[in-house]
């Protein structure tokens, strides 16, 4: 009963000093807004990454070029990783089941008067099997298409909708200035939190180089599947030796490429997300500390201002604990008001950021645990920094307090 009454008193007191209350909670607002904004963006990313890595399995390997900017005394030269490297791997490394080059770009495509920007993939015929994608209608392109440099394409379902293709297979679409004929439609993969895995067009690797320009062929990504899980390490080592040899790297020079296996891919992402989280954690820690001190400060002011009120309450029978709880609740309420404002700001900011990123970025998503965590921290801060002012209020001598001017 008294507990409920205390909430009423707390909110009446906060309302009476509305501006002061909001300014006081600025630290809390910033802290919570930062958490929510970052969490909302990172969560979307994380979903995207894990869903992309699922399905490809533990034999999946990626080879990427790596720039060594930190190499002392070395002029940064363009590191190349070409499909020739990939073909060498195919020929010389044991236990490689299949391998495909991959170049990706965002490309305007057209059909009649319909236009659409999509992801254009330049790959070879092994791509669907390497990446665990399947064709629903028609076929993927074949080695023959590649050899003959046929102008063929396989599209995702979103592309069909966007270009309004009634009879997709056999239709001719323009990729940039290049006309290609659709020979297949990929199985629908769905959106994984905003990333549309159906909004893509595949064309033969060589054809893609024609669209993107030959230089795109210097920076390809190689994607491959080892024959089985046990041979992944051997494949990785052999690729490393082969590419170092082909790239004529000195004994002590670092690799100019990365060979990433699935575990490492997850590690890399986890590491990046972990770093982001740690930085944000530090920012939030400082913001909450500042916010907490702000709350303590204003509560001390409030206790002094309301000394006489405390005296009155005590004279009519309020116990120490009644006064303590009253001011604690006020501190917590102050902190929580900051939390709510911060939550709304952070959510809005996250949504704004993801909306401003031009290509298809996963939308901001605030998980319940982040809300719970934020409010939990706010409550802790309120109690932690409110306890001193509140106990000061509770310990006031009623006679002195009543006499206070």
């Amino acid at each position: 009963m008294i507990f409920l009454e205390n909430f009423r008193i707390a909110f009446a007191a906060l309302r009476a000093n509305l501006m002061r209350s909001i300014l006081t909670t600025l630290g809390i607002i910033c802290g919570v807004a930062a958490v929510i904004a970052v969490v909302s963006v990172v969560q979307g990313l994380q979903y995207m990454i894990t869903s992309q890595l699922q399905g490809v399995g533990s034999t999946f390997i990626i080879v990427q070029a790596r720039q060594n900017f930190s190499q002392p005394g070395m002029v940064t030269k363009q590191v190349k990783l070409t499909w020739e490297d990939g073909q060498a791997i195919q020929q010389h490394v044991r236990n490689v089941a299949m391998i495909t080059p991959q170049v990706i770009g965002i490309q305007e495509i057209k059909h009649g008067d319909r236009q659409h920007r999509t992801y254009l993939f330049g790959v070879n015929s092994d791509w669907p099997d390497v990446n665990d994608f399947a064709v629903e209608h028609g076929r993927f392109f074949t080695q023959l298409d590649l050899d003959r440099r046929n102008k063929v394409a396989v599209v995702g379902t979103t592309v069909i909708e966007e270009l309004d293709l009634e009879e997709p297979i056999g239709s001719e679409i323009y990729v940039g200035k290049t006309p290609v004929t659709i020979v297949g439609v990929m199985e629908e993969k769905g959106r994984s939190l905003g990333f549309d895995s159906d909004d893509l067009v595949f064309i033969p690797f060589e054809t893609a180089l024609g669209v993107f320009g030959r230089r795109a062929g210097d920076q390809v990504e190689l994607r491959l599947q080892a024959t089985d899980g046990e041979s992944v390490d051997q494949v990785k080592d052999d690729i490393t030796r082969l590419l170092r040899d082909r790239h004529r790297l000195e004994e002590e020079a670092p690799d100019d490429f990365n060979v990433l296996v699935q575990d490492e891919l997850l590690d890399v992402y986890t590491q990046i997300l972990g770093m982001v989280t740690a930085v944000i954690g530090a920012v939030v820690g400082i913001a909450l500390l500042v916010g907490g001190i702000g709350i303590m400060n204003i509560m001390l002011v409030s206790v002094t201002e309301r000394t006489r009120e405390i005296g009155i309450r005590k004279s009519v029978g309020a116990r120490r604990t009644d006064i303590l709880v009253q001011f604690l609740i006020e501190a917590v309420a102050l902190s929580l008001v900051g939390g709510v404002i911060g939550l709304l700001l952070g959510w809005g900011f996250g949504a704004l950021v993801t909306a401003l990123i031009p290509f298809d970025f996963p939308p901001a998503y605030v998980p319940l645990w982040a809300i719970g965590l934020s409010f939990g921290f706010c409550t802790l801060v309120g109690v932690g920094f409110g306890i001193y002012p509140a106990s000061k209020a509770a310990a006031l001598d009623p006679i002195e307090a009543l006499r206070y001017e």
Binding site: M1, I2, E5, A12, A16, R308, E309, G311, I312, R313, K314, S315, V316, G317, A318, R319, R320, T321, D322, P398, I399, L402
Partner: protein
């Protein structure tokens, strides 16, 4: 309280209150013995520094004596801890202050309700009682006014209602007319007279003889001791 109704409401025996001021000991009360019966109407008088404020704080259970025994309605007050003192203030005492001491930005009704909150009474019952008590002091039409919308006399009526709402065994008024003009003072004193006639025990602390006239009994303090204790109408 299963107090013996025939015994006095208040029994003070050998009460001393000593303060340390710097290196000096100050005896604000220096051996006070006093009995006050139920339904009495008493004025405590004395110059400033005579100890009347200290006595009132002790009687109001805001403070405990350094030495001596104080029994209020059968309870030995000097043995109580902080929490029990708060409880006895809530149950047994109704304070009326010179400066009213109402909560600002809080309606008359909410002010009067305050002691009942700390008693843990349900809200509906609280508001009902607070409203009835405000009507009793003649402010039935002012329940939703805040103190700054009320005149001095009305504020003191709110304060009196707050003191009465718990049905205390003792109404303690400290210079209740000190901040009021003489016409309003008369009204407020009439209210206290009426409370006494209704059977309340009323204790006024005042330095004004006119006000003390209203009481049936006058206790004069000097230097922390009882100088005179007389019935009004007896030789002054």
């Amino acid at each position: 309280m299963d107090a013996d109704l025939s015994s006095p409401l208040i029994e003070l025996r050998g009460i001393r209150k000593t303060y340390v001021m710097g290196s000096q000991l100050v005896h604000a009360l220096d051996g006070v013995d006093l009995d006050i019966g139920r339904g009495e109407y008493v004025a405590i008088m004395g110059a400033s520094g005579s100890g009347k404020s200290t006595l009132m704080n002790l009687l109001g259970c805001l403070d405990t004596p350094t030495e001596g025994h104080y029994s209020l309605n059968g309870v030995q007050v000097e043995e109580l801890n902080d929490e029990e003192l708060a409880r006895i203030r809530n149950r047994e005492i109704g304070f009326v202050f010179q400066t009213f001491n109402l909560l600002s930005r809080t309606t008359a009704l909410r002010n009067v309700e305050l002691p009942l909150i700390y008693r843990g009474m349900p809200r509906r019952e609280r508001l009902e009682r607070a409203r009835a008590t405000l009507e009793r002091v003649g402010l039935g039409d002012r329940v939703d006014h805040q103190p700054n919308e009320l005149s001095g006399g009305q504020r003191q009526r709110v304060a009196i209602a707050r003191a009465l709402v718990t049905d205390p065994s003792l109404v303690l008024a400290d210079e209740p007319t000190g901040n009021l003009d003489s016409a309003t003072s008369v009204e407020i004193m009439e209210l206290f007279d009426a409370l006494h006639e209704q059977g309340n025990t009323v204790l006024l602390v005042t330095h004004e003889p006119d006000i003390a006239e209203h009481a049936e009994r006058r206790i004069v303090l000097r230097d922390g001791q009882v100088l005179r204790d007389e019935r009004n109408g007896e030789a002054a």
